[in-house]
Symmetry: C2
Subunit: 148 residues, 2 copies
Protein backbone atom coordinates (compact mmCIF):
# COMPACT_ATOMS: atom_id res chain seq x y z
CA UNK A 1 0.00 0.00 0.00
CA UNK A 2 1.37 3.39 -1.02
CA UNK A 3 0.38 6.13 1.43
CA UNK A 4 1.46 8.75 -1.11
CA UNK A 5 -1.07 8.12 -3.82
CA UNK A 6 -3.07 10.64 -5.87
CA UNK A 7 -5.89 10.63 -3.30
CA UNK A 8 -3.48 11.49 -0.50
CA UNK A 9 -2.15 14.56 -2.29
CA UNK A 10 -5.56 15.61 -3.57
CA UNK A 11 -6.72 15.74 0.04
CA UNK A 12 -3.93 18.23 0.67
CA UNK A 13 -5.08 20.30 -2.30
CA UNK A 14 -8.61 20.14 -0.91
CA UNK A 15 -7.39 21.57 2.39
CA UNK A 16 -6.08 24.52 0.38
CA UNK A 17 -9.43 24.85 -1.41
CA UNK A 18 -11.12 25.00 1.99
CA UNK A 19 -8.80 27.86 2.95
CA UNK A 20 -9.96 29.72 -0.16
CA UNK A 21 -13.59 28.99 0.74
CA UNK A 22 -13.12 30.44 4.22
CA UNK A 23 -11.79 33.65 2.66
CA UNK A 24 -14.76 33.98 0.31
CA UNK A 25 -12.67 33.01 -2.71
CA UNK A 26 -13.78 30.58 -5.41
CA UNK A 27 -12.61 27.42 -3.61
CA UNK A 28 -9.79 25.97 -5.67
CA UNK A 29 -6.65 24.59 -4.08
CA UNK A 30 -3.42 23.15 -5.43
CA UNK A 31 -0.24 21.45 -4.31
CA UNK A 32 2.85 20.54 -6.29
CA UNK A 33 4.69 17.35 -5.44
CA UNK A 34 8.30 16.42 -6.17
CA UNK A 35 9.64 13.03 -5.07
CA UNK A 36 6.64 12.42 -2.81
CA UNK A 37 7.19 15.76 -1.11
CA UNK A 38 4.89 18.78 -1.28
CA UNK A 39 7.03 21.69 -2.46
CA UNK A 40 4.24 24.23 -3.04
CA UNK A 41 0.76 24.85 -1.66
CA UNK A 42 -1.63 27.53 -2.88
CA UNK A 43 -5.24 28.52 -3.11
CA UNK A 44 -7.17 30.91 -5.26
CA UNK A 45 -6.69 34.53 -4.14
CA UNK A 46 -8.18 36.52 -7.02
CA UNK A 47 -10.45 38.59 -4.75
CA UNK A 48 -7.97 39.25 -1.99
CA UNK A 49 -5.18 40.15 -4.40
CA UNK A 50 -7.55 41.88 -6.81
CA UNK A 51 -5.84 39.96 -9.59
CA UNK A 52 -7.44 37.49 -11.99
CA UNK A 53 -4.07 35.81 -12.52
CA UNK A 54 -3.90 34.70 -8.86
CA UNK A 55 -5.34 31.25 -9.50
CA UNK A 56 -4.11 28.48 -7.21
CA UNK A 57 -2.14 26.81 -9.99
CA UNK A 58 -0.30 29.98 -11.07
CA UNK A 59 0.86 30.69 -7.54
CA UNK A 60 1.87 27.05 -7.11
CA UNK A 61 3.96 27.08 -10.30
CA UNK A 62 5.79 30.23 -9.21
CA UNK A 63 6.35 28.85 -5.73
CA UNK A 64 7.55 25.41 -6.90
CA UNK A 65 10.02 26.93 -9.37
CA UNK A 66 11.31 29.15 -6.62
CA UNK A 67 11.75 26.15 -4.32
CA UNK A 68 13.55 24.07 -6.96
CA UNK A 69 15.66 26.96 -8.23
CA UNK A 70 14.78 26.14 -11.83
CA UNK A 71 11.98 27.22 -14.16
CA UNK A 72 10.96 23.73 -15.20
CA UNK A 73 8.82 21.31 -13.22
CA UNK A 74 9.44 18.22 -15.36
CA UNK A 75 9.53 15.74 -12.48
CA UNK A 76 6.69 17.34 -10.56
CA UNK A 77 2.97 16.66 -10.29
CA UNK A 78 0.33 19.36 -9.92
CA UNK A 79 -2.69 18.35 -7.82
CA UNK A 80 -5.55 20.78 -8.25
CA UNK A 81 -9.12 20.40 -7.01
CA UNK A 82 -10.74 21.78 -10.17
CA UNK A 83 -9.79 21.35 -13.82
CA UNK A 84 -7.35 24.12 -14.84
CA UNK A 85 -8.48 26.95 -17.13
CA UNK A 86 -6.74 28.02 -20.35
CA UNK A 87 -4.41 30.37 -18.50
CA UNK A 88 -3.26 27.76 -16.00
CA UNK A 89 -3.02 24.96 -18.56
CA UNK A 90 -1.09 27.37 -20.80
CA UNK A 91 1.26 28.12 -17.91
CA UNK A 92 1.69 24.38 -17.30
CA UNK A 93 2.90 24.08 -20.91
CA UNK A 94 5.79 26.44 -20.17
CA UNK A 95 6.66 24.62 -16.92
CA UNK A 96 6.84 21.28 -18.80
CA UNK A 97 5.25 19.72 -15.73
CA UNK A 98 5.30 15.92 -15.67
CA UNK A 99 1.74 15.28 -14.52
CA UNK A 100 -1.48 17.12 -13.77
CA UNK A 101 -4.07 15.49 -11.50
CA UNK A 102 -7.37 17.29 -11.10
CA UNK A 103 -10.56 16.62 -9.16
CA UNK A 104 -13.77 18.14 -10.52
CA UNK A 105 -14.25 18.90 -14.19
CA UNK A 106 -15.02 22.44 -15.32
CA UNK A 107 -17.23 22.02 -18.38
CA UNK A 108 -17.42 25.76 -19.18
CA UNK A 109 -13.90 27.04 -18.73
CA UNK A 110 -11.74 23.93 -18.31
CA UNK A 111 -8.81 23.32 -20.62
CA UNK A 112 -10.11 20.01 -21.96
CA UNK A 113 -13.25 21.46 -23.53
CA UNK A 114 -11.39 24.59 -24.69
CA UNK A 115 -8.62 22.51 -26.24
CA UNK A 116 -5.65 24.21 -24.58
CA UNK A 117 -2.42 22.57 -25.68
CA UNK A 118 -0.42 20.89 -22.92
CA UNK A 119 3.27 20.07 -23.09
CA UNK A 120 3.76 16.71 -24.85
CA UNK A 121 5.44 15.32 -21.71
CA UNK A 122 2.52 16.19 -19.41
CA UNK A 123 0.30 13.29 -18.34
CA UNK A 124 -3.23 14.02 -17.12
CA UNK A 125 -5.36 12.21 -14.53
CA UNK A 126 -8.87 13.46 -13.78
CA UNK A 127 -11.66 12.71 -11.34
CA UNK A 128 -9.60 12.19 -8.17
CA UNK A 129 -11.91 13.10 -5.23
CA UNK A 130 -14.16 14.59 -7.88
CA UNK A 131 -17.24 14.57 -5.65
CA UNK A 132 -15.59 16.35 -2.69
CA UNK A 133 -13.86 18.91 -4.93
CA UNK A 134 -17.03 19.63 -6.92
CA UNK A 135 -19.21 19.73 -3.82
CA UNK A 136 -17.14 22.56 -2.32
CA UNK A 137 -17.50 24.57 -5.54
CA UNK A 138 -21.28 24.00 -5.66
CA UNK A 139 -21.67 24.97 -2.01
CA UNK A 140 -19.73 28.19 -2.65
CA UNK A 141 -21.82 29.23 -5.64
CA UNK A 142 -25.16 28.33 -4.03
CA UNK A 143 -24.29 30.46 -0.99
CA UNK A 144 -23.08 33.29 -3.22
CA UNK A 145 -26.37 33.23 -5.14
CA UNK A 146 -28.40 33.28 -1.94
CA UNK A 147 -26.48 36.31 -0.67
CA UNK A 148 -27.12 38.38 -3.79
Amino acid sequence: MNPFDDTYFMKKALLEAEEAYKKGEVPVGAVIVFKNQIIARAHNLTERLNDVTAHAEMQAFTSAADYLGGKYLRDCTLYVTVEPCQMCAGASYWTQIGKIVYGASEPRSGFTVLGTKLHPKTKVVSGVLEEECGQLMRRFFVEKRNLN
Copy 2:
Protein backbone atom coordinates in the same frame (compact mmCIF):
# COMPACT_ATOMS: atom_id res chain seq x y z
CA MET B 1 -4.23 63.61 -36.42
CA ASN B 2 -4.36 61.56 -33.24
CA PRO B 3 -0.96 61.38 -31.53
CA PHE B 4 -2.24 58.52 -29.35
CA ASP B 5 -2.78 55.90 -32.01
CA ASP B 6 -1.88 52.21 -31.92
CA THR B 7 1.56 52.88 -33.38
CA TYR B 8 2.33 55.41 -30.65
CA PHE B 9 1.58 52.95 -27.86
CA MET B 10 3.23 50.02 -29.63
CA LYS B 11 6.42 52.07 -29.69
CA LYS B 12 6.17 52.28 -25.91
CA ALA B 13 5.72 48.49 -25.73
CA LEU B 14 8.76 48.14 -27.99
CA LEU B 15 10.83 50.20 -25.55
CA GLU B 16 9.87 47.63 -22.91
CA ALA B 17 10.87 44.78 -25.24
CA GLU B 18 14.26 46.46 -25.68
CA GLU B 19 14.65 46.49 -21.90
CA ALA B 20 14.04 42.73 -21.89
CA TYR B 21 16.56 42.30 -24.70
CA LYS B 22 19.24 44.17 -22.73
CA LYS B 23 18.68 41.79 -19.82
CA GLY B 24 19.04 38.69 -21.99
CA GLU B 25 15.33 37.94 -21.79
CA VAL B 26 13.19 36.91 -24.76
CA PRO B 27 12.38 40.46 -25.93
CA VAL B 28 8.67 40.95 -25.43
CA GLY B 29 7.25 44.17 -24.02
CA ALA B 30 3.77 45.34 -23.12
CA VAL B 31 1.89 48.41 -21.98
CA ILE B 32 -1.72 48.76 -20.90
CA VAL B 33 -3.58 51.93 -21.79
CA PHE B 34 -6.69 53.42 -20.15
CA LYS B 35 -8.15 56.66 -21.49
CA ASN B 36 -5.04 57.39 -23.55
CA GLN B 37 -2.84 56.97 -20.49
CA ILE B 38 -0.31 54.19 -19.91
CA ILE B 39 -1.22 52.59 -16.60
CA ALA B 40 1.14 49.58 -16.75
CA ARG B 41 4.47 48.80 -18.41
CA ALA B 42 6.21 45.45 -18.32
CA HIS B 43 8.66 43.23 -20.10
CA ASN B 44 9.38 39.55 -20.05
CA LEU B 45 11.33 38.51 -16.94
CA THR B 46 11.12 34.73 -17.01
CA GLU B 47 14.89 34.24 -16.66
CA ARG B 48 15.51 36.89 -14.03
CA LEU B 49 12.55 35.80 -11.92
CA ASN B 50 13.09 32.12 -12.69
CA ASP B 51 9.37 31.91 -13.41
CA VAL B 52 7.71 30.92 -16.68
CA THR B 53 4.60 32.86 -15.70
CA ALA B 54 6.50 36.19 -15.74
CA HIS B 55 5.54 37.07 -19.32
CA ALA B 56 5.19 40.79 -20.05
CA GLU B 57 1.41 40.55 -20.42
CA MET B 58 0.87 38.74 -17.10
CA GLN B 59 2.83 41.35 -15.19
CA ALA B 60 1.01 44.12 -17.04
CA PHE B 61 -2.42 42.68 -16.16
CA THR B 62 -1.51 42.45 -12.49
CA SER B 63 -0.06 45.94 -12.49
CA ALA B 64 -3.00 47.53 -14.33
CA ALA B 65 -5.58 45.92 -12.03
CA ASP B 66 -3.58 47.17 -9.07
CA TYR B 67 -3.54 50.70 -10.53
CA LEU B 68 -7.27 50.71 -11.27
CA GLY B 69 -8.23 49.05 -8.01
CA GLY B 70 -10.47 46.57 -9.81
CA LYS B 71 -9.86 43.13 -11.31
CA TYR B 72 -11.39 43.94 -14.71
CA LEU B 73 -9.74 45.84 -17.53
CA ARG B 74 -12.83 46.30 -19.70
CA ASP B 75 -11.97 49.80 -20.92
CA CYS B 76 -8.27 49.10 -21.36
CA THR B 77 -6.09 48.14 -24.30
CA LEU B 78 -3.11 45.80 -24.09
CA TYR B 79 -0.26 46.62 -26.48
CA VAL B 80 2.21 43.77 -26.74
CA THR B 81 5.06 43.40 -29.20
CA VAL B 82 4.50 39.70 -29.86
CA GLU B 83 1.27 37.71 -30.16
CA PRO B 84 0.22 36.43 -26.71
CA CYS B 85 0.54 32.73 -25.84
CA GLN B 86 -2.26 30.53 -24.47
CA MET B 87 -1.47 31.50 -20.89
CA CYS B 88 -1.55 35.24 -21.54
CA ALA B 89 -4.58 35.08 -23.84
CA GLY B 90 -6.28 32.91 -21.20
CA ALA B 91 -5.46 35.53 -18.57
CA SER B 92 -6.87 38.25 -20.85
CA TYR B 93 -10.15 36.32 -20.88
CA TRP B 94 -10.44 36.72 -17.11
CA THR B 95 -9.55 40.43 -17.27
CA GLN B 96 -12.30 41.03 -19.86
CA ILE B 97 -9.90 43.46 -21.51
CA GLY B 98 -11.45 45.66 -24.20
CA LYS B 99 -8.77 45.37 -26.86
CA ILE B 100 -5.53 43.54 -27.58
CA VAL B 101 -3.07 45.02 -30.09
CA TYR B 102 -0.04 42.96 -30.96
CA GLY B 103 2.94 43.40 -33.25
CA ALA B 104 4.62 40.25 -34.58
CA SER B 105 2.75 36.99 -35.00
CA GLU B 106 3.92 33.87 -33.17
CA PRO B 107 3.03 31.00 -35.50
CA ARG B 108 4.13 28.24 -33.09
CA SER B 109 2.82 29.31 -29.73
CA GLY B 110 0.50 32.24 -30.41
CA PHE B 111 -3.10 32.14 -29.27
CA THR B 112 -4.57 32.51 -32.76
CA VAL B 113 -3.12 29.27 -34.13
CA LEU B 114 -3.76 27.44 -30.83
CA GLY B 115 -7.35 28.65 -30.70
CA THR B 116 -7.35 30.10 -27.20
CA LYS B 117 -10.74 31.57 -26.40
CA LEU B 118 -10.80 35.32 -25.76
CA HIS B 119 -13.50 37.17 -23.89
CA PRO B 120 -16.38 38.00 -26.28
CA LYS B 121 -15.86 41.72 -25.60
CA THR B 122 -12.16 41.69 -26.54
CA LYS B 123 -11.27 43.17 -29.94
CA VAL B 124 -7.99 42.17 -31.57
CA VAL B 125 -5.69 44.17 -33.85
CA SER B 126 -2.52 42.55 -35.19
CA GLY B 127 0.53 43.58 -37.19
CA VAL B 128 1.20 47.00 -35.61
CA LEU B 129 4.96 47.64 -36.01
CA GLU B 130 5.17 43.96 -36.92
CA GLU B 131 8.55 44.31 -38.63
CA GLU B 132 10.27 46.11 -35.71
CA CYS B 133 8.76 43.78 -33.11
CA GLY B 134 9.64 40.65 -35.07
CA GLN B 135 13.12 41.92 -35.93
CA LEU B 136 14.03 42.26 -32.24
CA MET B 137 12.91 38.67 -31.62
CA ARG B 138 14.89 37.35 -34.58
CA ARG B 139 18.00 39.25 -33.50
CA PHE B 140 17.71 37.78 -30.01
CA PHE B 141 17.38 34.19 -31.20
CA VAL B 142 20.15 34.47 -33.82
CA GLU B 143 22.55 35.81 -31.17
CA LYS B 144 21.44 33.13 -28.72
CA ARG B 145 22.13 30.43 -31.30
CA ASN B 146 25.57 31.85 -32.07
CA LEU B 147 26.48 31.86 -28.39
CA ASN B 148 25.60 28.20 -27.86
